[in-house]
């Protein structure tokens, strides 16, 4: 065994002993992911179910009662009915209702004349835009369906094509299915960035880094000595998280293990590179943790398309997402889990991740020549 390999083996061995002896690394690697998974698996849902909707029925006619029944029957709404808008407006103001539908006084009369119920008023609470969209679309949908059924019942022909919606990849529009792959990306970002930034900062704090640097060890050996153990740890954490997601949360897994490992491996390298870069600047654990959260966790959470769709971001922010590694992993994981091995999509993303990782390592190696500043 030559000197270089022996030194790397020694550093890697030392790191594993430390990981096993130090509960905080194991906590971050294995307990935190499980907590996050349970949070996203059970706690977070973006689905619209039982939105509280007020229906003001100002018309006492038969048609109005029919429409009201349609709203009551909808699984998306829990309705509260009143004769007038005023009490419902107060509820809306207090945040107890998310939206309001007003059935006007002349509703039944106009329907009787065969006029489209387009004069239905829908009020939505715009302070939560997502829910407001649901209210608007679903309320219109309910009214539209009711109108079509009524037309069919009376034997009138609709004329024109009828739109039939089909949702691919996640037919039940179960938000958990698209959230969980994103959560896995977040977990990887935390382990990769936070853990490496912390352990290197700890070496600075305890003065061991200074001692290492005065040995014949080369800077690349030091970097490999940090990357390898946490790569292994991160992949292990990943596999455990995938196992939990697939078995406990019934997340479909339509791609191959190879695609999963390739995508997450490439991402983990980039995240580890980012963690090392942070640690070359932040030499105490507090600073390192803050920097890792702000540059690693938050972008992975906000700018990866995990929760907020990238396509609807302003152009400047959208441009920024291109250098956020988590963006590519979220896409790849959602594809691998929900669609399958679409290599034409997966491979370019893996390539970009590897490029980002290489760039980060290059920066780190340049910054941490065996010097203190």
């Amino acid at each position: 065994m030559n000197g270089c390999r022996r030194r790397m083996a020694a550093l890697i061995g030392k790191e594993f002993v430390q990981i096993l002896r130090d509960p905080s690394s194991l906590l971050i690697a294995f307990v935190l992911p499980v907590i996050l998974l349970f949070l996203y698996g059970f706690g977070v849902s973006l689905d619209a179910r039982e939105i509280r909707l007020g229906v003001a029925v100002r018309d006492s006619g038969e048609e109005a009662a029919g429409l009201l029944a349609a709203f009551r029957a909808s699984p998306y709404f829990r309705t509260e009915v009143a004769r007038d808008t005023r009490p419902l407006e107060a509820e809306l103001l207090a945040g107890r209702l998310r939206g309001l539908v007003v059935i006007p006084q002349d509703f039944s009369r106009r329907i009787g004349k065969g006029i489209d119920p387009a004069n239905l008023q829908v009020v939505a609470d715009g302070s939560e835009t997502n829910t407001a969209n649901y209210v608007q679309n679903y309320a219109q949908g309910v009214a539209r369906t009711w109108w079509n059924q009524r037309l069919r019942k009376t034997g009138q022909d609709l004329g024109g094509p009828e739109l039939v919606a089909r949702i691919w990849f996640n037919p039940e529009l179960e938000s958990r299915n698209s959230l969980l792959p994103g959560a896995l990306a977040i977990i990887m970002a935390i382990i990769g960035t936070l853990l490496t930034a912390l352990v290197v900062a700890r070496e600075w704090e305890r003065g061991t880094m200074e001692a290492l640097m005065v040995t014949p060890v080369a800077i690349t050996e030091l970097i490999v000595g940090k990357i390898f153990p946490y790569f292994v740890l991160g992949m292990l954490a990943m596999l455990i998280s995938v196992g939990i997601s697939v078995t406990l949360f019934a997340l479909p897994f339509r791609g191959s293990l190879a695609a999963l490992l390739l995508s997450s491996g490439a991402f983990l390298l980039a995240a580890l590179g980012q963690g090392l870069l942070i640690s070359s600047a932040a030499k105490n654990q507090f600073l390192a943790a803050m920097a890792a959260l702000i540059t690693g966790f938050l972008p992975a959470f906000l700018l990866s398309g995990f929760i907020f769709e990238i396509a609807s971001m302003p152009p400047a922010v959208r441009a920024l997402t291109h250098i956020i590694p988590a963006r590519y992993l979220v896409t790849n994981l959602q594809t691998v889990f929900l669609v399958g091995d679409v290599w034409s999509l997966l491979l370019p993303n893996v390539g970009i991740l590897l490029l980002l990782a290489a760039g980060l390592f290059f920066l780190t190696a340049g910054k941490t020549a065996k010097r203190l500043r």
């Binding site: 030194r7 020694a10 002896r21 305890r206 003065g207 200074e210 040995t215 014949p216 203190l372």
Partner: protein, 581 residues
């Protein structure tokens, strides 16, 4: 072109600046460090010791000037330098969650020490350091002295040509300190250069050559004897004093012919200005039976001499407060004080009582439990067993009232770094209930007494260490407390500032203030009326320093120093319990 000297370390006009707006950390240093001897790098904190060591390792590069380590330039040949360097940074550079053997193995691998050579090195170092029985113990669980030895062993894995030790003895018990000296002494051969950095001036005298640094400048380089030569014939001890030694010191320091003085147990040591005759003992009010005996000069005397003499003997602080009247009753008392953290006993059944106007010193290595005792006596930590009283108030029952009677200066800088000097003073005045014109008057007085005026607007964080400590003391004494707790008040500060601190402490005590102080400077313990030796959470001995010395004096050691006394008492205590020291 000058021939390259590749047999020693050549430093030429070396300067280093950490940042553009910072003052020079090292300023125009030139020296030659030779192999075959131990070179002491001596100076207070902030003198530039660590900076120089890091420059020698190539971890920092010179701002200007040059540095050649055995002919190699650290700018572009640092890698080669690292092949023959052994470096022990301040915290020993050990992995606390690795065992002794794992630490050794790691450093052996990194230094390419393998095969039979490695087995020989391990065997030799484990015996050499006495760590053989503890190979499987985690480094974090070793005592300070054992950590220091392991750190040394890791630096010695491949026999280095240059051994750099950054304050290896700070806070370590005196037995381990002495053993480290012995080990390093055994190591030195004709090829090896050893640099030992230290803030303890008594260690300088053990080095063959010394670089004395002060504020980034080289004050002196050469054999320590050449420096102490300056004050030869000017050092005296006032012995068999009949009266108050603190007052004798104060009188002595007010004499124009005296430039420096300290209390040494029952005696007072004075250093005269050049060409002056010693004052008659009568002038010092030392009593009829007192004598003035010439004593050999010490490195510290010469250091003060280079700096132009110590401060005067009058404490403006003590003058400004009203004397406390009353009997010499017990004002601070600890009974059976114990503190356990989980299954670790930090302090075990410590008891002492201090009378009004007395200085009681707690002496012991880092981690022995001094600060824990302090925190319990301030009512900041609840004892697991036992009790403490301050000015008659039980700390368990009325910690608030007890605290209002005492001033506390914490070991670490405990002021607000973002507030200016004046804002810190005003804040603490407010905390202690000083309001209106009294607050204003007190703050102004403190600024005058401690010479803080040039720094009133500066953030406390940016003050030089000596001024940080002065400000901390000012904040602790503003409310004129009857009891003063000082936790390592002079750690790392230069000897002039230390003199000034002790002048204040002596002055306050004369006014009836009770002082509890911790220190790891042995010579400072001699200022104390009584001391307690703390070791592994226990008080292993206590009493008047000179009485303790007499207690261990023997035919082989007729006149032990306080350090030798401590060592003898430690050994005694260890053998009684059958524990390895």
């Amino acid at each position: 072109m000058k021939p390259v000297d590749d047999s020693s370390l050549v430093i030429e006009n070396l300067s280093y600046r950490y940042d553009k707006d910072f003052p020079l950390a090292l300023d125009g240093l030139s020296a030659v460090i030779r192999p075959g001897i131990v070179t002491g790098l001596v100076g207070p904190d902030g003198a530039g010791k660590t900076t120089l060591l890091r420059l020698l390792t190539g971890l920092l590069l010179p701002t200007t000037g040059s540095l050649r380590v055995f002919g190699l330039d650290t700018r572009d040949e640092a890698e080669k330098v690292h092949r023959f360097i052994g470096y022990m940074p301040q915290k020993f550079g050990l992995y606390e969650d690795l065992s002794v053997r794992q630490n050794l193995r790691l450093y052996a691998d990194l230094h390419d020490v393998t095969g039979a050579e490695r087995q020989r090195a391990f065997a030799r170092l484990l015996v050499f350091t006495g760590l053989e029985p503890f190979q499987d113990r985690l480094a974090g669980r070793l005592s300070g002295g054992m950590k220091q030895k392991l750190g040394l062993a890791c630096a010695l894995i491949r026999k280095p040509r240059l051994l750099l030790l950054d304050e290896p003895s700070v806070g370590v018990d005196p037995v381990s300190r002495r053993e480290l000296w012995r080990m390093v002494g055994e190591l030195v051969d004709a090829e090896t250069a050893v640099i030992w950095s230290t803030a303890y001036l008594d260690e300088a005298e053990k080095c063959r050559e010394v670089l004395l640094l002060d504020g980034g400048r080289l004050l002196f380089s050469g054999p320590p004897g050449a420096l102490t030569e300056r004050v030869a014939g000017r050092c005296f001890q006032v012995q068999t004093i009949d009266g108050n030694r603190r007052r004798v010191l104060s009188h002595a320091l007010q004499r124009p012919e005296v430039q420096d003085g300290i209390v040494q147990g029952r005696n007072v040591r004075i250093v005269l200005r050049p060409g002056q005759k010693p004052p008659a003992p009568a002038l010092l009010e030392a009593g009829a039976g007192s004598r003035l005996i010439p004593v050999p000069p010490r490195f510290e005397d010469a250091y003060i001499d280079v700096l132009g003499g110590g401060p005067g003997g009058v404490s403006a602080l003590a003058e400004s407060i009203s004397p406390l009247s009353g009997e010499r009753e017990v004002t601070v008392e600890a009974v059976g004080l114990s503190k356990r953290f989980g299954d670790f006993t930090a302090v075990s059944e410590v008891g002492f009582s201090i009378r009004r106007g007395e200085i009681f010193g707690l002496l012991g290595p880092n981690g022995a439990g001094k600060s824990t005792i302090f925190k319990m006596m301030c009512g900041l930590l609840r004892p697991s067993a036992g009790s403490g009283r301050v000015s008659g108030f039980d700390l368990r029952v009325s910690p608030g009232q007890a605290r209002s009677r005492l001033g506390y200066m914490a070991q670490k800088f405990s002021l607000y770094g973002d507030l200016s000097t004046r804002q810190n003073l005003e804040f603490f005045a407010g905390v202690y209930g000083l309001a209106g014109w009294r607050r204003k008057e007190t703050v102004t007085r403190m600024i005058e007494i401690f010479g803080l005026y040039p720094h009133v607007r500066a953030s406390a964080r940016d003050l030089p260490l000596g001024f940080k400590q002065r400000l901390a003391l000012a904040c602790a004494v503003m409310h004129e407390p009857a009891v003063l707790f000082l936790d390592e008040p002079t750690s790392g500060v230069d000897p002039l500032t230390r003199r000034e601190f002790w002048t204040h402490i002596n002055g306050l005590v004369e006014r009836g203030v009770t002082v509890l102080v911790t220190t790891h400077f042995m010579d400072e313990a001699e200022y104390c009326d009584r001391i307690g030796l703390i070791y592994r959470g226990r008080m292993i001995a206590h009493g008047v320093p000179d009485d303790l010395k007499e207690q261990v004096a023997s035919a082989a050691l007729p006149d032990p120093t306080l350090e030798e006394t401590f060592i003898a008492l430690l050994r005694q205590w260890d053998t009684e319990r059958g524990e390895p020291s």
